[in-house]
């Protein structure tokens, strides 16, 4: 009886280990464990509204601030903290003027980390020069 139970327990442990290592074998079998998104940056532009580090981390928050400022206060001018230039607070007219292709810019990171922002349910999605 003891040996039969030990067999079952070992089977249970093996099932647990297979499940627990799911991220390892899943990514390995997909061949993408060392994948890292590469972004297509706008040609001829050297700087964004804020520093690259700030934009990587806080861009969603900046877009929120712009939305609130434009929709609720009617204030449309944003002055950059990084280089004191004035910008029009507009996703379509400011951001997408340079970042002309959603698939090669926005989606790269968003797909990588599994987020699906709701921007494009209202705004027109930039498709680049198709």
């Amino acid at each position: 009886m003891a040996s039969r139970d030990t067999g079952r327990i070992v089977v249970g442990l093996v099932i647990f280990l297979v499940l627990a290592s799911f991220p390892v074998w899943f990514s390995a079998t997909q061949g993408r464990s060392d994948y890292r998104p590469e972004l297509e940056y706008p040609a001829g532009e050297t700087k964004c509204v804020e520093s690259k580090e700030y934009m990587r981390t806080w861009h969603m928050d900046l877009l929120n601030q712009w939305r609130d400022s434009v929709v609720r206060k009617g204030v449309r001018t944003y002055t950059s903290d990084a280089h004191h230039t004035d910008y029009d607070m507009s996703l379509q007219n400011t951001c997408m003027k340079c970042h002309t292709n959603k698939a090669n810019f926005c989606d790269r990171c968003h797909d990588y980390v599994g987020v699906s922002p709701k921007c494009w349910e209202c705004h027109v999605e930039p498709r680049g020069a198709e």
């Binding site: 003891a2 139970d5 806080w58 990171c109 699906s116």
Partner: protein
């Protein structure tokens, strides 16, 4: 006092990770050495613990019987509360593991004026435990988006259900707050009730504080002090593909990640091992066949029996002479 001890330990761990995040040379420690050590301690400890339990002999059936045992055909037996078949045991275990049936039975004893003792149902522990465990499961699955590439469909599906109400940007996940609420209740329960405070050990408070700290740092990173999650995913993928990347990720992330490593490292050596232990509770996972079948202790020493017949054969004449009745003349 024990609560303060556990809280102090967590605060020291938080300070340690916070300090580590500020020193460039320690990134190798907190980003590579600690997670690998935690994985080794977790998997090694878990397998060792379970195998040591597997070696423990359980010669007899000792199920807790919470209903009528299987007997004559015309007497209905409690199929799950006193199971006599493997199927019944599986049903009982499923109810235990998935719905925490034992906690559902929880009762409270009160002494009413006049010395009358009454028992009343107490479901809050069950409700909070259920809320906590399922929230934790959902959060665990949600976090797979940082550990898998491409992100599997079920992770995205569970994410979209969890952020169903689309409150705020980024949308709040309901389970984050359900988890913190449930943990808050489970902690207050121990602190407020004098009886529970009396039996609570540092080992009871430590996981609660640890999980509250993990949940809080997680919510802070998502909604208040943003973190560059693209870099974080690269760090996580680096660990799992055995080619670690040392990149910062900020103090908050280092603290969150370090506390998760601590959770995994202490897991097999603490009460948290009930995750594996629940499947091995002999009072739940055995069919009650004590009367239907004869269970013989497998390591019984072979004993030379002497039956009454043999005894009588030896002493029959003397017994007759003394007037003692015998079975065989």
């Amino acid at each position: 006092m024990t609560a303060i001890l556990a809280l102090g330990a967590i605060l020291i761990l938080i300070l340690l990770a916070g300090f580590g995040s500020q020193v460039a040379g320690l990134q190798v420690v907190f980003g590579v050495a600690v997670p690998y050590a935690a994985i080794a301690l977790f998997l090694g400890g878990l397998v060792f613990k379970v195998m040591s339990w597997a070696r423990t002999p359980v010669p007899f059936r000792i199920p807790t019987t919470c209903g009528q045992q299987k007997t004559l055909d015309w007497i209905p037996s409690a199929r799950f509360d006193n199971p006599h078949t493997t199927l019944g045991v599986i049903g009982r275990m499923a109810l235990e593991v998935l719905f925490f049936r034992s906690l559902f039975r929880n009762t409270k004893v009160d002494i009413r004026p006049g010395g009358r003792i009454i028992h009343t149902p107490a479901k809050w522990l069950w409700a909070a435990a259920l809320a906590f465990h399922y929230s934790f499961l959902v959060i665990f699955i949600r976090h797979l988006r940082f550990f898998t590439e491409p992100v599997p469909g079920f992770v995205k599906a569970i994410q979209s259900v969890d952020s169903f109400f689309e409150i705020g940007v980024p949308s709040i996940f309901l389970t984050s707050f359900l988890l913190l609420g449930a943990l808050g209740f489970l902690l207050l329960r121990r602190l407020v009730s004098p009886q529970l405070r009396y039996i609570s050990l540092a080992n009871d408070y430590f996981p609660l504080f640890l999980l509250i700290a993990i949940g809080t740092t997680g919510v802070l990173m998502r909604h208040f002090q943003k973190t560059d999650i693209e870099t974080i995913k690269a760090v996580a993928m680096g660990i799992l593909s055995f080619s670690p990347v040392t990149a910062g990720g900020g103090a908050l992330f280092t603290i969150h990640f370090f506390l998760v490593c601590v959770l995994f490292a202490v897991f097999p050596y603490s009460k948290l091992m009930h995750m594996a232990g629940v499947f091995m509770s002999p009072t739940r996972n055995m069919a009650n066949t004590n009367r239907a079948k004869r269970h013989i202790n497998p390591w019984n020493h072979p004993v030379a029996f002497r039956t009454y017949e043999e005894y009588e054969d030896d002493f029959r004449d003397k017994m007759k002479a003394a007037g003692i009745p015998v079975e065989k003349e």
